[in-house]
């Protein structure tokens, strides 16, 4: 228990710096402790970290960061580009910018007021620095020790400050994707298995309106049959009352229900996504089912026999549903933004690839795609049809997330329905991995290798056109090989995503997402080293989900939101042209983060034609 003393130290600081704050906000009355006059650099660093780190335990609802986020949501002013407006308060009295916060807080979250204000002060302690620099104010009045602290702490990466044990929700995250032993394993009692099932942070269930289970991400259906029954009873109760159930909350767990035709979809999440986001995820699962069956077939099955067990027609696609579900649980920027990621190559190179592709086009080709490491390299399409991101998401999931297609090797010929293109019939998809068995004869097909694969995909409405597609692929590959384009693609895929340091040198931004709305595409910075671990990645994505939910809330007219949490800060900026999201360490000031954001956006504008496919090859 290190909290006690350090908290005291922190509140002492708060007391010194902001009398206003400590006197009416803090629920622990400022204790008359000795102010630890010479803390020395190392302890003071720790103490400062503790200022950020140990705040959450004081809150009544700790650590999920939802609460402190929403404070910032509310407290953030008008949303003009000047992100640091402080409501016109006199910056010379340091406590004054807090006026904004308690005021807004009191209006919205009065019940939590005195708890929240504690967390509120931690971030705002730093704000005056910006204001001062902006308005020529009195930053110089700070003690040298304080400045020392700031200079050291500015480089703190997101999530560095809170050990995992404090973040109770995610402690189990590394086990999230482990299987639950089935009945045949006698070491486990039903009770244990149910316990494991309940400990999962995220569940997806699909059942028919007659109550027949179709799919559950975790647990075999025998284990959760009763839960399915309960779910069905609840949903159909509300359906019967002509007042369909959309969602409910139990503790910290959110249940979201979507009814699609004869199917019920349920998402159960402890990860803090918004209803809209969860519903989008359920829609993606529905799209996957349609992609397997088509809408007329699905309707027909249930029109004839409402009690049909849909598991049989869907047999073999459980892994596709699961990989889709898992990508949502891990956090997928593509799903969040509803956009695609492209491989960054020079405009002229992409042009050459498109032309090679168009040149060898077979007659009955509908779409042609080249994809490297899950990123789009080139698209050719008929003038009157464009490709919908949600369809591409299904294809990418099939080819790059679940191993089914890749593992077999060879050329694949896959009937599938692209629901956003046409949910009534099948198309036929030719897939070939260019660096297939020849390049890696015996290497195990792990997720890593799959993410660097280059695949060529050709979609045709004609199921007999396999050999025409194969011929076209051979021509395209020969042409690309001749022009050296394949090496360019491989090199770009190997290089990976750009690092923030290259994009905006000197900015304190740790990670960003940039979505070009017109192109329905996004780019992001490299995840490693800070976010390469699954838990850190999930936390990053949770931050993005939070700010995304806030700026996209139904009646929000927000354009910019800056959230300061105990362990990280995040910024979202939405314009008609782009959406920008970024995350920085907990001590990055609003000023610095805004500067960084501007630089990234300038970069994205400059590199637009390399980052995004604009138009693609049209025939």
């Amino acid at each position: 228990m290190r909290t006690g003393r350090e908290d005291a130290w922190v509140s002492q600081v708060a007391n010194d710096e902001q009398h206003h704050a400590a006197s009416d906000g803090d629920d622990t009355p400022p204790p008359p402790l000795p102010p630890r006059p010479t803390p020395g650099p190392q302890p003071s660093h720790d103490a400062h970290l503790a200022a950020a780190a140990d705040r959450p335990p004081l809150q009544s609802k700790p650590t999920t960061a939802v609460s402190s986020m929403s404070i910032q949501t509310v407290s953030f002013p008008d949303g003009s580009r000047g992100t640091f407006t402080s409501g016109g308060d006199d910056p010379s009295t340091k406590g004054s910018e807090n006026v904004v916060i308690p005021g807004d807080l009191a209006s919205t979250r009065a019940d939590l007021d005195d708890n929240m204000s504690v967390a509120t002060f931690a971030p705002t302690l730093r704000a005056p620095g910006d204001l001062a620099s902006l308005l020529g104010g009195s930053a110089s009045k700070r003690s040298p020790a304080w400045k020392l602290l700031r200079s050291q702490s500015a480089t703190v990466q997101p999530f560095e400050t809170i050990p995992l044990e404090d973040d109770a929700t995610l402690t189990e995250f590394p086990n999230e994707f482990d299987g639950i032993p089935d009945e045949s394993e006698q070491d486990w009692s039903d009770w244990d298995r149910l316990g494991m099932w309940k400990s999962k942070l995220k569940h997806y269930m699909i059942l028919s309106s007659a109550g027949k289970p179709i799919y559950s991400r975790h647990g075999d259906l025998a284990l959760i049959n009763s839960s399915m029954g309960v779910v069905q009873t609840i949903i159909s109760f509300y359906e019967g009352a002509k007042n369909p159930l959309l969602g409910f909350t139990a503790g910290s767990t959110r249940f979201v229900v979507a009814t699609r035709g004869p199917l019920y979809f349920v998402a159960i999440s402890k990860l803090g996504e918004s209803d809209t986001q969860l519903r989008a995820q359920l829609d993606a699962l529905y799209m996957q089912i349609l992609s397997t069956l088509t809408l007329p077939t699905l309707t027909h099955i249930f029109a004839n026999r409402p009690s049909t067990d849909l598991r049989k027609p869907l047999e073999g696609t459980e892994s596709l549903l699961s990989s889709l579900a898992d990508s949502f649980t891990k956090g997928s920027p593509s799903a969040l933004l509803g956009a695609l990621e492209c491989l960054k190559i020079r405009k002229s190179h992409r042009h050459a690839i498109n032309n090679a592709f168009l040149k060898s086009r077979a007659d009955n080709l509908l779409y042609g795609l080249i994809v490297a490491g899950g990123k789009l390299v080139s698209v050719i399409r008929p003038r009157k049809h464009s490709l919908h991101p949600s369809d591409l998401q299904l294809i990418f999931n099939m080819l790059f997330e679940s191993g089914g297609v890749k593992a077999g090797g060879g050329d694949n010929w896959i009937p599938l329905c692209l629901p956003a293109f046409n949910n009534r019939g099948y198309l036929y998809m030719y897939v070939n991995y260019l660096d297939g068995p020849a390049a890696s004869p015996t290497t195990p097909v792990g997720p890593h290798s799959i993410h660097e694969e280059t695949a060529i995909i050709m979609i045709s409405p004609d199921k007999e056109s396999f050999f025409a597609m194969q011929q076209m692929k051979n021509d395209v590959v020969a042409e690309l090989e001749k022009r050296g384009s394949l090496d360019i693609i491989r090199a770009a895929a190997r290089q990976g995503r750009p690092r923030v340091a290259e994009v905006a040198p000197g900015s304190q931004i740790s990670h960003f997402l940039f979505k070009s709305k017109a192109n329905v595409q996004f780019c992001m910075s490299a995840l490693d080293p800070v976010f390469s671990d699954a838990v850190a990645h999930r936390r990053l994505m949770s931050l993005y989900h939070n700010v995304h939910a806030t700026v996209h809330a139904k009646h929000a007219h927000l354009k910019v939101i800056h959230c300061v949490g105990a362990d990280a800060t995040s910024l979202a900026w939405v314009t008609p042209v782009f959406e920008f999201y970024c995350v920085a360490g907990p001590n990055a000031s609003r000023h610095v983060i805004t500067q960084g954001a501007n630089r990234v956006i300038q970069w994205a504008k400059r590199e637009e034609e390399r980052l995004f496919i604009i138009g693609g090859g049209v025939f």
Binding site: E315, V405, G410, N412, I414
Partner: protein, 248 residues
């Protein structure tokens, strides 16, 4: 023309199709034959995969053009596209799962009715590694759990009283194969037992006369069957499924 391995042998290509119930190990057999590799818990094939592999015989080289099809019912209506003009077929069942042999018999009947007349059919019982080679197990053991069994997994392979999960006796399958004049093998894609033998035997069984020299790709597939089924029709498979369940 540096012929390292003897005289240049005539090379011809043979179209071969794999059929059989889901999760009996069709893709695993192909993977073993083509790449000499095996993957535990391989995910189900979607649609079909096309692979090629050469098979050297003393007098000639056979280039197999293999169509590895998905076993799920919903793909059944696409099967004619793959076995049309095929010179050989591998009908696979799982010898730990009696229903898969019934399905295999359906495939054999369909091939004899609809495929090209001279087609060479091999019946293959896969997953031999799950059995005690010694114990000629009692056939007709009724495994009630036919749900989710990983492809070639057999992890929960039904009642393993004596460590032997075999549910289809060699005699039963062999007798049937002789009646229908099929080639018959029991294999293990996991250990590689008998796998290359199957393909060699097929290559040997293809009559010399039906072999042409390597033809242009797609020559045999260019003919369209009048677009009778433009999309996978799920009503058929549903009927089949019902039929299946009462047959077991």
């Amino acid at each position: 023309m540096a012929d390292s391995a003897g005289a240049p042998r005539p090379s011809s290509s043979v179209k071969l199709v794999l059929l059989g119930e889901a999760a009996v190990g069709k893709s695993s057999l192909v993977l073993r034959f083509v790449n000499n590799d095996f993957q535990e818990n391989k995910e189900p094939t979607i649609g079909a995969a096309f692979l090629t592999q050469k098979c050297n015989l003393p007098t000639r080289t056979i280039k197999f053009e293999i169509w590895d099809t998905a076993g799920q019912e919903r793909f059944a209506s696409l099967a004619p596209m793959y076995y049309r003009n095929a010179q050989a077929a591998l009908v696979v069942y799982d010898l730990t799962k009696p229903t898969s042999l019934i399905k295999a018999k359906h495939w054999v009947a369909e091939l004899q009715r609809q495929a090209s007349p001279g087609i060479v059919i091999a019946l293959v019982g896969n997953k031999l590694d799950l059995t005690n080679a010694s114990a000629a197990a009692a056939a007709g053991g009724n495994s009630e759990d036919e749900d989710e069994e990983g492809e070639s997994g057999g992890v929960s392979g039904g009642g393993d009283e004596s460590g032997d999960a075999r549910k289809v006796s060699t005699d039963e399958a062999k007798t049937y194969a002789e009646e229908e004049s099929l080639l018959f093998f029991e294999t293990s894609a996991k250990t590689g037992h008998n796998v290359s033998e199957v393909f060699t035997a097929i290559a040997n069984a293809i009559p010399e006369t039906s072999l042409k020299s390597t033809r242009g790709p797609g020559a045999s597939n260019a003919v369209s069957r009048g677009g009778d089924e433009q999309r996978v029709n799920l009503t058929g498979p549903r009927g089949d499924a019902a039929k299946d369940s009462c047959a077991c």
